[in-house]
């Protein structure tokens, strides 16, 4: 069984890039366009093995989304990786405070994604 990854990003090109990179590493991918949608997708599907989320999104940003995930018992143990840039130290800290497990520094490639996922999922 391939691992499943839920990607949450408001940019379609970013979602597609993630999907392309993750699929190439054998992950199966589901997508959400923002935090609100991400929580909806979680409710509708079997919990993914890993969640990758952007921070800057309309409607519900990444911090709020992470808090939302962590406040639901069933999702507390899903590792969450945030997409950041290397200049986002403060955001990284905030994301961790909200419950993020790790981070992926943009720009990413397939190997980098796989590496980050390996670091957070059994």
């Amino acid at each position: 069984m391939s691992k499943t990854v839920l990607t949450v990003d408001d940019s379609k090109s970013m979602r597609e890039l993630l999907k392309l990179a993750l699929s190439s590493q054998g992950f199966s991918v589901s997508q959400a366009v923002d935090g609100v949608h991400g929580l909806e997708v979680l409710r509708e599907q079997a919990p993914p093995d890993v969640i990758i989320t952007d921070i800057n999104m309309p409607r519900m940003n990444g911090f709020e989304f992470i808090e939302g995930v962590r406040s639901t018992d069933a999702y507390r143990t899903i590792p969450i990786l945030v997409l950041t840039t290397e200049s986002d130290a403060e955001k990284k800290a905030r994301a961790r405070k909200a419950g993020a497990t790790g981070w992926i520094v943009k720009p990413f490639d397939a190997a980098k994604l796989a590496d980050a996922i390996r670091r957070v999922s059994i």
């Binding site: 090109s13 970013m14 309309p58 962590r70 840039t85 200049s87 961790r96 419950g99 720009p107 957070v120």
Partner: protein, 741 residues
């Protein structure tokens, strides 16, 4: 499988499409900020736009774009965090930065290349503007000092992302310990003790053990002494610690890397086995810090067992730490703005095909309805009822399909502020743009063809309409001219106006030019409106010398013909000294319309229902005469000119007696009303518009054609054009009649 299309290229295209939207958001946000509206929500919108462009650009290796977006983002970040307050020059600099960003996107897309010195200049400008007080001052002379004193803007980096996926440097000083020889087998002792926060972030000790084992030969020792008695055990706390001895040829960094995500949550210590033997004296300050860290992590009495197993037993509400609410979350308006529509992209061809199919469905449904009604089936019969249901569904479907194609005119409008800035700068005038009704929706095909005419009219307004600042001041106006661009729905059409508060049309000159160019005879008696509209005649150009801006061989006549081709109309109204306003009126869709089917002199025509206000069977008491050929119809105490459509179109030589026909009260442009006389009303029907121009040729007074339920072709009347048409004896062309069939 990916032979034919490179998926990356496709995603890149998607990215560029997103850029268009983001640049639009950016422009809109900056305009709002310029208008004094710099709340957190707006600044966030602007920040997010630049941030997203940077993120995507990084993914595609568009370095120039990344570099400049990074600088711009830095400024916006300071605005967002409140360390910087917007001032007038900063906002102007950001608008220029937005323009540059747009150009860099265009360059990345394969457009004109951007001179790198521009990025440097704009970067400088942003920095300078950032340190001006909220009110602009004459601070030019401070020059370099200001820059030098500047608090940190992120520098333009040559390789902002070169770091890749490096672990964060661990917080204590490593140099103080002896490093084993590289590449030699060394033994490391790694201690870590996950705190509650470790588990709260869904981290997993097992993964750390697995990763350490991957580095070398690992011997794992569990320290479970921290587990308290059952009654003192906190379910969410962390009580276990591990000591792992790793024999490896890799260096310390490799081990640190394992803890890169969790170093704050499990206080890892990494020692070389040699150093272990050394006395555990405080020694270097780094070690003291480390000890402190551990002490902080385990306050008071140590600890029980962690509950890491998912889904195990008792359910206590998880203690999620309070996080400072983000500005977005706090803002009540956020939800509203947030509800930014989600979208999917569909090829236009697919939608067009759907529109066509639905069009055919409408015709078929109409035909079916007609045959059933002719078959004499009872009104209450199940077939007739089912047909009514079908009609509703067809209509819903049609509206839904049309709604898919409808888009707000924003996409066109948002390109205009930049145009205004650039044109104004080019002709040394001051101009600001006010837009209204950007949310007004209209069919996509219409939108696409609106861009050029609007661009041209705006150029025209600035170049010809607005006076030079000095002249404006002399005329008692403010130096900065105003160009107003608005959109609104009116009687089933979209009306777009481009107005300026400039000098207005110089009618003497327009008339003189028209005579000089042989467009009108010197004797022609023209009223003001007619003179104004001379500028739409082919070959007319008012500019004494062709200027760079609007004189590029595209005259207003081209604008007019492109509008006419869309089934639209254009007119100009002008007040000398006060400015001019171009008014465009266009159909909302080019595909279907609700029509009233009427008989005129034996022909069947369709009148757009959106234009019809009411109908009336006139009695002689309703009719007054202004002259032998000028009947008026009296409707609720107002007198409305009555126009015999059949006579006007040349279908009959003699006008119909008003009392023997039916009067349709219609609304024409500017809210004026007109009464149309037809022979009889057949009914109301939804019709699919078939272009007459494409299939036959343009006919004055006729907007398009359609196919009726019985297969006949009917012409669709252009109400406004018919009202404005001269009497039929003035018509140059023979009336168009259609043979039945």
């Amino acid at each position: 499988m990916s032979q034919d299309v490179d998926p990356l290229l496709e995603i890149k295209q998607t990215f560029f499409q997103e850029c268009d939207e983001l640049l639009g958001d950016l422009e809109r946000g900056l305009m709002a900020i310029e208008g004094g509206d710099h709340d957190a929500e707006t600044i966030n919108l602007v920040f997010r736009a630049v941030h997203s462009i940077k993120g995507g650009a990084g993914a595609f290796g568009l370095d120039a774009l990344v570099r400049f977006a990074h600088v711009f983002e830095g400024t916006l970040e300071e605005l967002r965090s409140g360390t910087l307050q917007p001032n007038a020059n900063l906002v102007k600099a950001m608008l220029v930065a937005a323009d540059l960003l747009a150009d860099l996107v265009r360059e990345a897309r394969g457009g004109a290349s951007v001179d790198p010195s521009r990025s440097i200049a704009v970067t400088e400008r942003l920095r300078h503007a950032a340190f001006e007080p909220a009110l602009p001052t004459a601070a030019a002379e401070t020059g370099d000092d200001v820059t030098a004193a500047a608090p940190s803007h992120p520098p333009v980096q040559d390789d902002p992302f070169g770091l890749g996926f490096q672990p964060v440097v661990i917080s204590f000083d490593l140099e103080s310990e002896p490093e084993p020889e590289p590449a030699a087998q060394a033994t490391w002792i790694v201690d870590f003790r996950p705190a509650a926060s470790f588990y709260a972030r869904a981290s997993e000790p097992l993964i750390l053990l697995r990763e350490l084992s991957a580095i070398g030969t690992a011997t794992v020792e569990l320290d479970e002494t921290g587990i308290p008695l059952l009654d003192a055990l906190e379910l969410e706390d962390g009580y276990l610690g591990w000591t792992v001895q790793v024999v490896t040829d890799q260096d310390r960094a490799a081990i640190q890397d394992v803890f890169s995500f969790v170093e704050d949550d499990c206080a890892p210590t990494i020692r070389s086995a040699d150093a272990v033997a050394a006395p555990a004296k405080p020694g270097p300050p780094a070690v003291a810090r480390m000890v402190e860290q551990i002490v902080q992590t385990f306050p008071a009495a140590p600890p029980p067992v962690p509950d890491t197993a998912p889904g195990s037993g008792t359910v206590t509400p998880f203690p999620v730490q309070a996080v400072a609410p983000s500005p977005i979350a706090e803002d009540p308006q956020a939800a509203k703005q947030a509800a930014a529509p989600q979208s999917i992209r569909v090829e236009l061809d697919r939608i067009d095909r759907l529109v066509d199919i639905v069009g055919e469905l409408v015709i078929n449904q109409a035909m079916l309805a007609q045959s059933i009604s002719e078959s004499g089936m009872g009104r209450a019969s199940a077939v007739v009822k089912g047909l009514e249901e079908l009609e509703h569904l067809t209509r819903d479907m049609q509206e839904s399909v049309m709604a898919i194609r409808a888009q707000p005119v924003r996409s066109v409008f948002q390109r205009m502020p930049r145009l205004v800035r650039e044109v104004a700068a080019m002709v040394s005038k001051e101009a600001r743009l006010i837009t209204e009704g950007e949310g007004t929706e209209v069919d996509k095909t219409v939108i696409e063809r609106l861009s050029d005419p609007i661009t041209h009219m705006i150029r025209n307004a600035i170049d010809h309409g607005l006076e030079a600042p000095a002249d404006r001041v002399a005329a008692g106006k403010v130096a900065e001219g105003t160009v107003r661009l608005s959109a609104a729905h009116r009687s089933g059409r979209i009306v777009i106006e481009v107005g300026d508060d400039g000098r207005g049309i110089n009618r003497e000159r327009v008339r003189a030019i028209a005579i000089a160019k042989g467009l009108i005879s010197p004797e022609a008696q023209l009223n003001d409106e007619e003179i104004d509209n001379l500028i739409f005649l082919p070959g007319f150009s008012t500019a004494a010398q062709v200027s760079d801006i609007s004189g590029r061989g595209v005259g207003m006549d081209i604008v007019r013909s492109s509008i006419l081709a869309l089934g639209g109309r254009i007119s100009i109204a002008s007040r000398p000294g006060h400015g001019s306003t171009f008014t465009l009126s266009l159909p909302l869709t080019l595909a279907v319309l609700d029509g009233m089917v009427v008989t005129i002199a034996g022909q069947t025509l369709v009148i757009p229902l959106t234009a019809v206000v009411e109908t009336l069977q006139p009695k002689s008491s309703n009719i007054r005469w202004m002259g032998p050929d000028a009947p008026l119809v009296v409707m609720r105490d107002s007198y409305i000119p009555l126009l015999d459509v059949g006579h006007r179109l040349g279908y009959r030589a003699e006008p119909l007696q008003p009392t023997s026909g039916v009067v349709l009260l219609v609304e024409v442009g500017n809210g004026n009303r007109m009464a149309l006389l037809v022979d009889a009303i057949q009914g109301q029907r939804q019709v699919v518009i078939k272009s007459l121009e494409a299939n036959y040729g343009a006919v004055e007074g006729i907007a398009a054609a359609t196919i009726l339920g019985d297969g006949r072709i009917a012409l669709i009347l252009d109400v406004e054009a018919v009202s404005a048409m001269p009497q039929s004896d003035a018509m140059g062309q023979a009336p168009l009649r259609l043979a039945v069939g």
